[in-house]
């Protein structure tokens, strides 16, 4: 910074201050684009990559795709997912794991997407429902499978050997 004498100093200072004032008054008269949240609720759309809450999509017959393999539970870094499953015998005599309860702790989830990536059947996904505040902490432990829902019957999924192998080594 070059040396300035007393008068030059005052003039320089006044100039910079006036530049500041000019900038701020310009903004004062600009149009302000503020998103007005509760008023714009209907028009608020997020890209589907946003992750606000885990959900298990059910089809119109109240069926989900989860086979209770437990990969998501294992992938979760902080145990936010808890799967309760039981062994049932299918008609053709095979033993099969079936989902009883898929508990997900929203209050603990860190939305890292590892569970969704780990799932071999696309049974879970993140939704864009961000209005999740509650008064009671217990309400944040969600059961993702709807009451009375069953496993979707579909042509046997082509299970790649990869996830099975993963399961074994992870155990």
């Amino acid at each position: 910074m070059e040396e300035r004498n007393y008068i030059q100093g005052i003039l320089h200072a006044s100039k910079t201050l006036l530049v500041g004032l000019k900038t701020s008054i310009k903004i004062f008269f600009e149009h302000h684009e503020t998103e007005q949240y509760p008023e714009n609720r209907d028009t608020l759309i997020f890209s589907d990559r946003n992750r606000f809450c885990l959900e298990m999509p059910h089809n119109e017959k109240n069926q989900y795709k989860c086979i209770a393999c437990g990969l998501c539970q294992m992938a979760c870094p902080n145990d936010s997912i808890h799967i309760t499953s039981e062994m049932v015998e299918t008609e053709d005599g095979k033993k099969k794991k079936q989902l009883v309860k898929y508990e997900y702790n929203l209050g603990q989830c860190m939305f890292c997407n590892l569970c969704v990536t780990a799932c071999p059947h696309d049974a879970i996904q993140f939704n864009q429902e961000f209005e999740n505040a509650v008064f009671d902490k217990k309400k944040l432990i969600l059961t993702l499978n709807h009451p009375g829902s069953t496993l979707a019957e579909k042509p046997r999924p082509v299970v790649t050997p990869k996830p099975l192998e993963t399961l074994k080594t992870a155990e």
Partner: protein, 359 residues
């Protein structure tokens, strides 16, 4: 211009007609008190709302808009809230002084508030050393701040209060000097007389031209500093001293500080309007008879408020633009720049008046 003193005189004679003089004066005092408190509250609420909206617009936002239409009820909600908050009593504080400090602030702003001539013949305190009185009572506020800082027995308030002490003592000088400049021009210390002269001979800022404009600018800077408002908000310096001298105050006691801040802002604006911008005097352009006639139909207090709020807007503009000064810069601004300049300015004004160079 309508002279308001007709109303007040008529009212006085009405009262003295039915009761002894002392009782009449008592009733008048009571009415004036009510008037002041009411006006004080209304102005504070208007200013707080205004500041929040204006500051929002400076900051590319839109400000309060959910409580009432355009957020008009926002400040009322704040007042209700504030009244119902707990006032914390601290074990270690100097309880008596701690509780008294906010009232000192209020007292100072009430007394200075009373000096303002609202309209022709409408001033609560109006006597021949009005300017002197104004400067004297505005100094009471600093006592409140110092007490608040001292009695909290906490480190941040203490630093804030000390800063405030240094700041106010310094900037009182500049305020005094700029007012002296005006007194030189008008030859009186009575506010009503100062305004009357401006109504007759033109606003001081035009009549006194160069020295008056310099004085006006210095007054704005020093007045801003007196109000502890940014960029001179060192005593409360949020980012440094958490909340400065009122860190330990809660509930309505804090509310008083908050109100006093805005009222001081208004008083600063009103005083600038009174001594530089002609108070309640309307705009007159020599030669434009029709225009001047229309202007004189607008009541004086509207002129006054318009000017005061204009200055308040200027101060808000400044506040929401500049960064905060540091304590040494603050003091060097006053002692190295404002004070010498305002001293020279007095000399200049004296010369101008002496040689009859006023416009």
């Amino acid at each position: 211009m309508f002279d308001f003193s007709i109303v007040t005189k008529w009212f006085h004679s009405l009262l003295t007609g039915v009761m002894p003089e002392w009782a009449a004066i008592g009733i008048e005092c009571f009415i004036v008190l009510l008037f002041i408190i009411l006006l004080y509250a209304i102005l504070a609420i208007a200013l707080i709302y205004g500041e929040r909206k204006i500051c929002a617009f400076f900051q590319c936002r839109i400000g309060p808009n959910r409580v009432g239409k355009w957020g008009l009820l926002q400040v009322f909600a704040d007042v209700f809230k504030m009244l119902t908050k707990e006032i914390i009593k601290m074990r270690q504080s100097d309880r008596f002084l701690h509780d008294m400090a906010p009232y000192f602030m209020l007292l100072a702003s009430f007394l200075t508030f009373a000096c303002i001539p609202w309209n022709k013949g409408l001033a609560i305190l109006d006597f021949n050393i009005g300017v002197f009185f104004f400067i004297a009572v505005s100094g009471i506020g600093i006592v409140g701040i110092l007490l608040a800082g001292w009695s909290s027995r906490s480190k941040y308030p203490m630093i804030g209060a000390m800063r405030s002490g240094a700041q106010l003592v310094s900037y009182e000088l500049s305020i005094g000097m700029t007012m002296l400049t005006v007194i030189l021009l008008n030859g009186t210390m009575q506010f009503s007389e100062i305004v009357q002269q401006q109504a007759d001979f033109g606003w001081n800022i035009i009549r006194g031209h160069v020295p008056a404009i310099i004085a006006f600018i210095i007054y704005l800077i020093a007045g801003n500093a007196e109000c502890n408002r940014g960029p001179f908000d060192l005593p409360e310096a949020e980012s440094e001293l958490t909340a400065g001298y009122h860190t330990e105050y809660s509930g309505m006691h804090f509310g008083f500080f908050y109100l006093a801040e805005y009222l001081n802002l208004f008083i600063c604006g009103a005083m600038a309007a009174t001594i530089f911008l002609g108070g309640w005097a309307p705009i007159y352009f020599p030669g434009w008879e029709g225009f001047n006639h229309v202007m004189s139909l607008i009541p004086g207090f509207i002129w006054f408020f318009a000017k005061a709020f204009f200055v308040v807007f200027l101060l808000m503009w400044i506040r929401w633009t500049f960064p905060r000064l540091r304590i040494d810069q603050l003091l060097s601004l006053e002692w190295k720049y404002l004070m010498p300049i305002s001293m020279l300015n007095i000399l200049l004004m004296a010369l101008v008046v002496c040689f009859g160079l006023t416009l």
